[in-house]
């Protein structure tokens, strides 16, 4: 059976995946640039193409709260948001992961206000590093489709039961029509078992969810949650491996491009990776040994895989697509440095900030980053270096 390649806008690929996963409940609030995802799902529910309950709530805070409730009853639950929407539901994010409810949410990464921007960057992602969700980055519509389907299987696995965020770049991916292969419905049905929470809310077997904890026991509950998130990586790897057998497409926590013999690596997440790859191709033609390393899995942080893929590179150049105010190092840069700290002969880790609020980064600018990042002068300065900022 040969799959047919079709063209779909990134957000519609996400909606298609959620539909094929046969979600039971979508509680969502629209926000640019994710709106196409939930609009399409609403259409599919209205036409009967998707048998689900669509709950149009009054805010993202309500959206995630409604998702908590539906997931708690054992309903396969999906929502989508972006930027300010992700922030509006911020307090509920922590609750969803602490309550171990396997909600799947796609986030069309968008800059956080102010000033108001609907365009893409990773500031919304960096604001939710600590919330306890599994977080996966995708770069194109194929990966978006595949990973939404995998996300349900990962989240609902009985040894995981942790909500999953799938990050896709706002506009750069959400609003771009890209080629992809869908799976057959039979393939998805065979891959995704029914969602079966061991202690779902059920009048026949009553439980209390959302308990409070006195100081004497709170610490233990947090350790238990953290261990569960870290151990989920094993299951994520297994599920990606199963998915490879199903589709022929392989996903890994840290993916690379021409990195094996590289002296210098660019490290980043999201769709700009594909632009970086063009820059790397050009630099390679010039004889430079440059490669790309990118996070597919952001949480749980894939420290082992990161160290392995960085290998013996001497310089790692980080692109942070967000600005953490008042400090000297970008968020991704600081996490990578921390991961490498204990290594003997660790590489120089150099940070750049760019692509804020939808600002493009051209191939030439990636090449500049490599040139500058390899200089001793740059390596000796710890400062926020914003690509393309007009002084």
């Amino acid at each position: 059976m040969t799959a047919k390649m079709i063209g779909l806008e990134g957000s519609l690929a996400v909606a298609e995946a959620a539909k094929m996963a046969d979600v039971d409940v979508v509680a969502a609030y629209p926000i640019t640039p994710q709106t196409h995802i939930v609009e399409r799902l609403a259409d599919m529910v209205a036409s009967g193409e998707l048998n689900a309950n669509y709950i149009p709530v009054e805010s993202e805070h309500s959206a995630l709260s409604a998702c908590l409730g539906s997931s708690a009853t054992g309903a396969r639950t999906f929502t989508a948001t972006a930027g300010q929407g992700l922030e509006l539901m911020h307090e509920v994010l922590y609750v969803a992961s602490a309550m171990r409810l396997p909600i799947v949410m796609s986030v069309a990464n968008r800059a956080l206000s102010g000033p108001l921007s609907v365009w893409g960057d990773h500031s919304d992602v960096m604001a939710v590093r600590d919330v306890g969700w599994i977080q996966i980055f995708v770069e194109n519509a194929q990966q978006a489709f595949d990973n939404i389907i995998c996300a349900f299987k990962i989240a609902e696995n009985k040894d995981v039961l942790i909500p999953v965020m799938v990050h896709l770049d706002g506009f750069h991916l959400s609003h771009v029509v890209e080629p992809l292969y869908l799976l057959d419905q039979e393939q998805v049905d065979s891959f995704l078992p029914d969602y079966d929470h061991p202690l779902a809310l059920n009048p026949e077997k009553p439980v209390s969810m959302g308990a409070f904890a006195m100081p004497v026991v709170f610490t233990e509950t947090k350790k238990a949650q953290d261990v569960a998130l870290k151990e989920s990586k094993k299951v994520i790897l297994e599920i990606w491996s199963e998915f490879e057998k199903l589709s022929g497409r392989k996903y890994r926590p840290v993916e690379t491009y021409k990195s094996e013999d590289a002296d210098t690596l660019i490290l980043m997440m999201g769709s700009f990776s594909e632009t970086a790859m063009l820059a790397i191709d050009e630099l390679r033609e010039e004889g430079r040994k440059v490669g790309l390393v990118r996070f597919r899995l952001w949480r749980p942080f894939p420290k082992e895989e990161l160290i392995r893929e960085i290998g013996n590179a001497k310089t790692v150049i980080i692109l942070d697509r967000s600005l953490s105010y008042g400090t000297y190092v970008g968020s991704v840069c600081s996490e990578v440095r921390a991961a490498l700290y204990a290594r003997e002969n660790r590489p120089d880790v150099v940070g750049f900030t760019g692509g804020l609020g939808g600002r493009d980064i051209a191939v030439a600018q990636f090449k500049d980053m490599v040139d500058k990042g390899e200089q001793a002068e740059k390596k000796s300065k710890d400062e926020i270096d914003i690509i393309g900022v007009r002084e």
């Binding site: 602490a98 969810m209 233990e220």
Partner: protein, 93 residues
């Protein structure tokens, strides 16, 4: 408390119904209700208003608070129609 992090139920879900009843909220109070049963008309208003739900009828039919749970909020004393209840300070131990 000896509960290890490994023994925490997933998502802190509580599977034992009514387990809150084991918690001695009576330790929290600073004042306690004292009763003048000669004034009590057994109307049950205090029982209805008690936010803890710890008031019950004793063998003589008078309504009294269960001191294991009573937090000493004094709402029963305020609501009592005949002022049969007064709040007095718990003795220092």
């Amino acid at each position: 408390m000896t509960l290890s992090w490994k023994d925490i139920e997933i998502g802190c879900i509580v599977t034992e119904p009514g387990s809150a009843s084991e918690y001695r909220t009576g330790d929290w109070r600073a004042d306690r209700p004292e009763y003048d049963f000669s004034r009590c008309i057994k109307c049950g208003i205090c029982y209805i208003y008690c936010p803890e739900g710890c008031i019950y009828q004793n063998d003589d039919g008078y309504f009294v608070a269960d001191m294991y749970y009573c937090k000493g909020c004094g709402i029963c004393a305020v609501e009592c129609w005949t002022k049969a209840i007064s709040m007095v300070q718990e003795e220092e131990v």
